[in-house]
Symmetry: C2
Subunit: 137 residues, 2 copies
Amino acid sequence: MAANSKFAVAVHALAVIAHHADQRHTSRAIAGSISTNPVVIRRLLAQLARAGIVESSHGAKGGFRLAKPASKVSLHDVYKAVEDCGALFALHDKKNEKCPVACRMASILEGVFERVESKIMPELKRTSLADIVGQIG
Amino acid sequence: MAANSKFAVAVHALAVIAHHADQRHTSRAIAGSISTNPVVIRRLLAQLARAGIVESSHGAKGGFRLAKPASKVSLHDVYKAVEDCGALFALHDKKNEKCPVACRMASILEGVFERVESKIMPELKRTSLADIVGQIG
DNA sequence: CATAATGTAACCATTATAGTCACATATATG
DNA sequence: CATATATGTGACTATAATGGTTACATTATG
């Protein structure tokens, strides 16, 4: 699987679940659609469960289902649940403390990144899981 | 250095150059401000040179300087030059071809990602290198 | 010619991510 | 209750991306 695809896999997994929202889905079945390992799915869905997006049940006839209607799950909810640090852009951690330019860069870049990222969140909030399922047809 | 910090390092390097735009700057001096290796800087600035943002000269008294005024260099120019694929988000590459949900996901996710990324570009275009230098004071 | 710089290939180190195995725990059902 | 079937998670391995380093050819100055 490609690097940094957690968000894409999470949306895909949720789409599988939401596409037949009346039944429970096992990590094995979901992993089958994505061609990955069931454990990868269980770990990812554990994060989504903690965020109140899905719920799981153990044992026979167990599996995952949505914890609320697909129309109430925005991609922003999914993003927050899955991307731990939330940073699309990253700062560099080292710098020369004696350089006046270097000493200002961290806070300047933080400001830029914050402004940029604030532009994408409304777009993620605007799109719901129901919109995604609608596009599957 | 942190992962995925190319953009941050590029902006930092350009800020060092633009802060004293009248002189040439060696990769050694720039690397000193960022506390990294000169080769890392040369590789990064080579990309910026191809994009027409900086120019370099070899030999004694050589080094880097801006190829155009700092006010004409937007962070979007820098981003394009430095982030090869341009994808903040990544798709997952494997899927089950027999699953109707999986078969639709790639194009659906591409659409979502494209819409999201289109929101940040105006913000990057709005900020110039001169704005950054201005914040150094 | 000596010195000082970039450009780049080749390689190593580090880190992040995905993938896998194993197993404790929980649950439905005959 | 026994069995089969799930999740949850710890521990480990594999892979890929990124940065760092060394080395050296090339180029420019004086």
